[in-house]
Assembly symmetry: C2
Homo-oligomer: 378 residues x 2
């Protein structure tokens, strides 16, 4: 009991409100070591299959397994190769079969210990074994903590496009240990930070102001870090609660993502050239500049967004991507295959200024094409 | 408009009530030929990927594609090998990739034209491409019309057990053409009929009485056939509406299924020895006899259930399965792997008489073992 009171004091809790599928996100230091207690208190009698990758396992798996064991939770672990290619049919099958072989039942849980790749794959596994098991997220990258672990999107990549195969499957519990972020490279941290900035740019101008002042503390691991993560989770949870299956408002979360995904695809998902958060950073800068060009947004606001991303060490122009340039055609093709297209017309998230993003349906492909041509030329 | 009034006259409609996911089941003759009109009226502008198998394609695909074309519906078709092995990871991947390659969007539909195998696989594909597309069922076996096409269960088989991988994904529309059942063998028809009998045995004693009188007409293709299908769909829809995700009452639909699945597994899913409906028929007879043994049900009711199944040409004893016998151990092992087990104890659907089935949790494995030993000996 002392332990629980103690952990309750040091972590923040954000509630995602989805009726019967509501769940808590715990945010704070040391959660890998107290995970067993947190799980046992909420889901008594549960058994767990921990899914992780070799890199994360080296840092945190032993400690997590000890914590589960200490709380009397029976666990098996499944360790995958790190990296985006793990989000494949082959690894999906491997993990599904391992979970079935462990004889876990519907009430038991798949626990994802890792970044977005592990979380997306493990969540998909939890969504389809016995037509849906419980799912617990322990995101270990900033990107996963502020974005992919919240909202229930899971999946793998198709050879024809990223994240084209998956399900919506909400976790029962998310635990974001802020200490584990110390093992990230600065580049990885910055990539996650792009999604934090995104919540400010969408509809939280106050958050954006606060980030302009507190960026250094967030990167250095001060108390601002947990606050930034909690505020990001709150922002995402609010949108997800309003639109769980992405029929409407949830599309706002794609600010920067249509351009970002196209750039990632054009780079063939080569993380040496571009990682997801960097694609989103460039995509958000492009969305602002495109909005300026369409007369929707002031040039001043676009520059302010761009400056902040640059200060965080993020790219903001297509030419910032190393390893060669792209043709307008290949980017347009990649945009056409984006899974959020609707009936052939293009849907973009555009903006009227900092914190004033909106869903623009039926954007003319010709306007996008002309804009990209100028960006690539300039 | 004349056409629509006409079709509305000749088919029956059963509504499955699931709030935002509610849908209609149309039941009647000639629906393959009027499918295009029915779909266009309900889902204007939709594009369709028809998934079917070689056998069914030979009988009905051309007519369905003509009907879609006449209604202005853009369609591609994906033809799979027939049989249970098609419910595999490999074919799942093939169909998912074909649907993505056809550039269908979330609002478009996968249409399953076939029996349970095609419906389960195609429904799973619809559930996971772009995290969920529309799904339309045109079941072509009696089993699929009265059971698997209603209720949203989809999936494939794992090497470790049947239907262990899948999702709940409700169709937008089900069309059961009663004419197509004329292409079934008597054995296939009887296997589907086992599930019709099941609804009577669960909680519709009036239906069971009616079946005792009208079995011949149902098999011969009289008007009783559509009535039996509609009543079965109503029975299933009622249970599904009350318990969409099988947390409680829906388990009643597993009457005969725990034993049935174990027998199918013990036969290694060799359809020459046993098909699903036959396993269910034996399983229901076993559930009744087991209930008699436990003092729950009168011997008279068990005999009445058994007689009706036998009259329909269905097996009712383990020894009715050709090709050798089984050990108690292998059947118990197969029961332990059943995906409806809960926390190690066994859940069975037992009965207090015709139409009085109930969920018995925590059945002692020893009692099942002793019962099976006697059944195998006798």
């Amino acid at each position: 009991m002392t332990t629980m009171t103690h952990t309750a004091e040091i972590h923040r809790t954000v509630r995602v409100d989805l009726d019967a599928r509501s769940y808590d996100i715990l945010i704070g230091p040391g959660l890998v070591g107290t995970a067993g207690t947190e799980i046992a208190a909420r889901l008594p009698g549960i058994r767990v299959a921990v899914v992780t990758d070799e890199t994360v396992a080296g840092f945190h798996l032993r400690r997590l397994l000890d914590s589960l064991e200490a709380a009397g939770i029976d666990a098996v672990s499944i360790v995958l190769p790190p990296g985006e290619p793990t989000k494949s049919y082959r690894h999906l099958e491997t993990v599904v079969e391992a979970v079935i072989a462990a004889r876990l039942e519907r009430g038991d849980a798949v626990l994802a210990l890792g970044g977005g790749v592990v979380g997306d794959l493990a969540g998909f596994v939890a969504g389809i074994v016995r037509r849906g098991m419980r799912f617990i997220q322990m995101p270990t990258s900033l990107l996963a903590q502020v974005d992919s672990s919240v909202g229930g999107k899971t999946g793998i990549n198709s050879p024809q496009g990223k994240n084209l195969v998956g399900v919506f499957h909400q976790p029962s519990l998310v635990m974001a240990d802020t200490d584990v972020l110390d093992t990230l490279s600065r580049r990885e941290f910055a990539a996650g930070y792009a999604e934090v900035v995104k919540y400010g740019l969408i509809d939280r101008p106050g958050l954006f102001d606060w980030l302009e002042t507190n960026r250094a503390g967030i990167f250095a691991g001060g108390p601002e870090r947990a606050e930034a993560i909690a505020e990001s989770c709150r922002a995402k949870a609010e949108v997800v609660a309003a639109d769980e299956r992405e029929d409407g408002r949830r599309a706002l979360l794609n600010l920067g993502h249509t351009f970002g995904h196209a750039l990632e695809a054009a780079c063939k998902y080569d993380s040496a050239r571009l990682v997801h958060g960097e694609g989103v950073a460039i995509g958000m800068a492009l969305a602002h500049r495109f909005s300026v060009r369409l007369g929707l947004c002031s040039g001043q606001d676009a520059v302010r967004a761009e400056r902040h991303l640059e200060a965080a060490g993020l790219p903001t122009r297509i030419s910032d991507i190393p390893g060669g340039t792209f043709s307008v055609d290949e980017l347009m093709r990649a945009i056409g295959q984006d899974k959020k297209v609707s009936r052939g017309s293009l849907t973009f998230i555009l903006t009227r200024g900092i914190g004033k993003a909106f869903i623009a349906r039926e954007v003319e492909p010709e306007a996008v094409e002309a804009f990209l041509a100028d960006e690539l030329a300039g």
